[in-house]
Every structure is written in C-alpha cells, then in structure tokens.
C-alpha cells in the first residue's frame, strides 16, 4: 500500500527515506503529468524531455516543499512552468512568430508516429493550437482531464472566474473554427 501524502511529505525531510518517497511520487504522477505536458507540446519526444525536467526540478526542489499545497498541485505547477518554458525556448530558437511555432507543432503532429487520431481529432488539435498558450492550457485541463476550477486555480494561480471565462471563450473559438473550416 502506498504511503499517504502526509507520510510522503514527512519522508521528504528524512535523507534516508527521501529517495523511496520520491520513487512513489514519480510512479504515482508520471502518467498524469505526461499527458498534461503532451497535450501542450504534442510530440512524444518533447513531452518526454519536459517530463524528465519536471521531475528533476521536483527532486532538486524537494527541500523547499513543506506540504503547504498538495503534492499533485506542486507537481502540476512545475510541469506547467516547464512546459511554458519549453515552448518559449522553442520560439526563441526558431526566432519566429507564435503562429510559425504552432504550425511547426502541427506539422510534427501529423508526422508523429505516436499520433493515431482521425480527421476530427486532428482538426480539434488544429483548432486548439490556434488558441493563446494560457487559454490552450485551461482548455486542455478542463476539456480532456476535467480538472476542477478550484484545482486549476491552485495550479495556475488564476481566479476561478477568469478560468471559467477563459474556458468559455476557448470553446467558442474552437466551435467557430469548426464552423468556418
């Protein structure tokens, strides 16, 4: 049986039990975090890199984690920051506009061997990619993962009202994209 979250946080502060506790954390959250990242970066290789960086950051920042928030919230926060940093760096490396980067992501997605979607699903991904980055994040978390607005508020640091509005506008934009295409 896996230890409780409180037990895990307690184990973080004990040098001889820290590695074991972290292994439990990795095995518990790797899949959820992977999909959270994958929906933003789209390619498997990029998602794998960002997930690794997320856990490396978490491991190195273990001393700073005092259990003020849930472990999942803390990890989602790191994963989100790492994902946004990754996309920013990609944009800077390309020295191109947001549209070019998103178009590049889409092209990679079409060629990705780990994408098995049909026409409608590809079109949905195209429409989601047209959204501003933060709105895309909110849409993915709500639409695909059904994360509550309260949880999203804790992770993203944005008020529930703003998140609801952001999701509403994202849905409208996507539906409009489908109608126009």
């Amino acid at each position: 049986m896996n230890p409780s979250e409180e037990e895990l946080v307690h184990q973080f502060s004990q040098p001889n039990r820290r590695a074991g506790a972290f292994s439990v954390i990795v095995r518990t959250y790797q899949e959820r975090l992977y999909w959270h990242i994958r929906k933003m970066v789209l390619s498997h290789e990029d998602a794998n890199d960002v997930l690794q960086n997320t856990f490396l950051k978490a491991w190195n920042g273990l001393d700073g984690f005092r259990g003020d928030s849930q472990v999942s919230t803390w990890l989602y926060r790191i994963a989100t920051n790492e994902t946004l940093t990754f996309l920013t760096n990609k944009r800077m490396r390309c020295q191109s506009s947001i549209d070019d980067v998103e178009e590049g992501l889409l092209q990679n997605l079409r060629a990705d061997t780990y994408f098995n979607g049909n026409e409608i699903q590809l079109k949905l991904q195209e429409a989601v990619l047209k959204l501003p980055e933060k709105q895309r994040l909110v849409f993915n978390m709500k639409y695909f993962d059904d994360i509550t607005y309260d949880q999203m508020e804790a992770i993203l640091g944005t008020s529930v009202g703003a998140l609801k509005a952001s999701y509403h506008f994202a849905v409208k934009k996507i539906e409009k994209y489908f109608e126009e295409e």
């Binding site: 590695a19 972290f22 292994s23 990795v26 095995r27 790797q30 899949e31 992977y34 999909w35 994958r38 929906k39 789209l42 498997h44 794998n48 997930l51 690794q52 856990f55 490396l56 491991w59 780990y114 994408f115 098995n116 979607g117 049909n118 409608i120 699903q121 590809l122 949905l124 991904q125 639409y143 695909f144 849905v171 996507i174 539906e175 489908f178 109608e179 126009e180 295409e181």
Partner: protein, 105 residues
Amino acid sequence: MKNNKNISIEEMSKELPFTVPENYFDQFALQLEEQIGYKKPFIRKTLKTWMYMAAMFVGILIMGQVFYTVNKNNVTRNAENYETYVLSQIDENSMADYYVSEPTK
C-alpha cells in the same frame, strides 16, 4: 466554406489521439532514478568520508615522520654541542697530561 453549423465540441470524443512507445511508463521511472542517481549521494558521501580518513591518516604519518627526524637531528646536534662545549673548557696541556700519565693502579 462553412459546412458545419452549430458544432458542439462537448459532443465530440474526448479521447486523446496520442499514443506512447510500448512500456514507456514502466521504463520512465527506472531511467529517471538512474539519471537522478538516488544511490550516488550515499556512495559519494561514504567514499568521501573514507577518503578524508585516509588523507588524515597519511597526514599524521607524514607529520610523525617529520617530527621524529627533526627531533632526532636536535638530539644529535645537542650531543655534539655538549661535547664541543666540554672540550672547550679543558686546557690543552691538562688534556695532554691526562693522556700521557700512567693509569692509576
């Protein structure tokens, strides 16, 4: 061209159209543990402790050797100085008399 009126994305499948390589999640944790090197800090720490102890031991040996050599030289030098001092206090004639005089029976 508009060909889809009143689309509702809530009615679409929410299944993600992505896949991952086989056994990806099983391998990921193992690779991450290897990358982080959980056990390395312990090994490095133990090795460091032993290295410090060995260095200290070698240091003590070297210091002991140096101290012994210096001390030995001082003793020898002191003995030589004492002999020279004693000899300097004796008159040469008295010394010659001492060597030529017959031993007392």
